[in-house]
Amino acid sequence: MTKGEDAEHLNDIVAKYPEVPRLIILKTDVQRRGVFYTDAAVSVLDEKKHSITGTHIFGTRDGKIAPRPESLLLRDGTSIITTPTAIEDNPYVVDLLDGQPFLYDGGEPIEEVDYWPAPAFYGKLARSGILMQKIVSARPQRLVINPHRYCTFWKNGNGCTFCDIVAQIKKGKKDLQIQARPKAEEIAEIVAEALKEPGRYSAIFLTSGSVINGTEPFDEEIDIYIEVFQELGKLFRTKKFPSQIIGTAYSEAQLERLYRQTGLMSYTADIEVLNEDLFNIHCPGKAEWIGYKEWKRRLVKAVDIFGRGFVNTGLVAGIELTSPHGFKTEDEALKKTLEEAEDLASQGVSTVYIVWSPRPDTVIGNQKNASLDYYIRLAKGLHELRVTYKLPIMFDDYRHCGNHPDTDLSRLLPF
């Protein structure tokens, strides 16, 4: 497909779905195709003003580690969390227009963007001497902590097919001096510094790789979260504070322990793909240690503990269409995915998606993601399930995550 055809495709989809905001369609397409930053776009990067790539838990599409904008903000406050992509792969281009960063396609200016603003704590040193942003990073309204960057599913080669967490930590160790397991006290020290900036954060987010160790599998993973949360809890006057983890699917006893012993308010366990056969193929570690049906059962049980509107699961949308095992058509993929998402929604579990970004250090990194039309239909479908089942999603919305086109649509939900 040529650049011109892609630009036309965007306008076609905007015309086809007048009920979906153009900005959300554009965001989705930028995530789908990636971005390339021109030298001019990179030249205006200022580490005092802008968040610059640094602590990604996952890799980039072009396989490089280099200073570039961490991500982009659109005029509606929506983030485009995207990854630098080689120009040969036909991404959107970020260039300057009258000094303002602008998205271009086929040489035409499409939409103004802002680089994510840099938090005040970036550039400061923790007591240990490490740069604070090596331990804690920030989105426009969220603090991001990766308390454990290794995923033990990879020990026997059962990591997810779309994931490069282990490859990235190896690169990160070498190129960025990122720790695989930062100390809880140091995390809390940095968060305390971050919170001195008024109005900057409305949630704290933790995610790690899965850790199978423990008396019961994943006990150690929970211990890590609890340790960090208990240190963070000392910073707040309320027992609970706006926060989210993306963790493994835990047993009821583990979920109870996590909820009761910490200030955690919301819980996400990403099932990645809503089909048992594809789950077994793309998430062999999750299949080996928990299993598809049990994963879903645990999500539903989590609603009893965290409450409706505080539990969800994420999809890496597009992997369900990869060959040779995936659905043969987008219509079939959409139908099957939404059927299973509705089953979860009817039991209080929201489903959100990210646009799958094929990355080089992954098993399926040489395949293509889905069409823009598919991603927009999926966003609409997941949003409509939240309308039908009156499921709030504020903890994972544009403000608290920014990576889900479907929850962008849910900004207009009246609950």
Binding site: R75, D76, G77, D114, P140, R411
Partner: protein, 154 residues
């Protein structure tokens, strides 16, 4: 914005006695109007509306306006009766960064423990003078049949 109006608009916005209203419409077209105590013009000529509540109906309506190129309305009425209606398009929702931080601090200084959801920039596209004393003269000169006769009796 017509330059002739700008000083008056700024004057009204700067006067603490001015009533400042932001009016929007819901998805089905129902009107929704609220006071906007922090409303002002920025240096670029955009109206700045500070939305304190993330889930307010106005916040959602402004987002819908931005997404689908619809207009909102602003009414400014001074203590002396001068009144202007401004139609505008919400063009930017600022939720982070130095501009947001500046307003977040201002809101807290003004209201104490309070929050700020969004800094809305509204681009004015039309300004209508609704000052009654001026509209009355205009009405009576252009539409003589709009006048009740008892007002014309000797």
């Amino acid at each position: 914005m017509p330059l002739t109006f700008q000083p008056i608009i700024r004057e009204l916005l700067d006067d603490t006695g001015t009533t400042k209203i932001v009016a929007t419409t819901t998805e089905d077209g129902s009107p929704y109007a609220v006071t906007s105590p922090f409303l002002h013009l920025n240096h670029d000529g955009f109206f700045v509306h500070l939305e304190l509540l993330e889930t307010s109906i106005t916040n959602r309506n402004l987002l819908r306006d931005l997404w689908f190129d619809r207009k909102a309305a602003i009414n400014l009425t001074g203590k002396d009766g001068r009144s202007f209606l401004v139609k505008g398009v919400p063009v930017k929702a600022i939720i982070s960064g130095p501009v947001f931080s500046e307003y977040y601090n201002k809101v807290q200084q003004a209201l104490g423990d309070s929050d700020l959801s969004t800094v809305w920039l509204i681009k004015p596209v039309e300004i209508i003078n609704e000052t009654y004393s001026e509209r009355k003269i205009e009405e009576e000169s252009q539409y003589p049949f709009s006048v009740h006769l008892d007002r014309l009796v000797n």
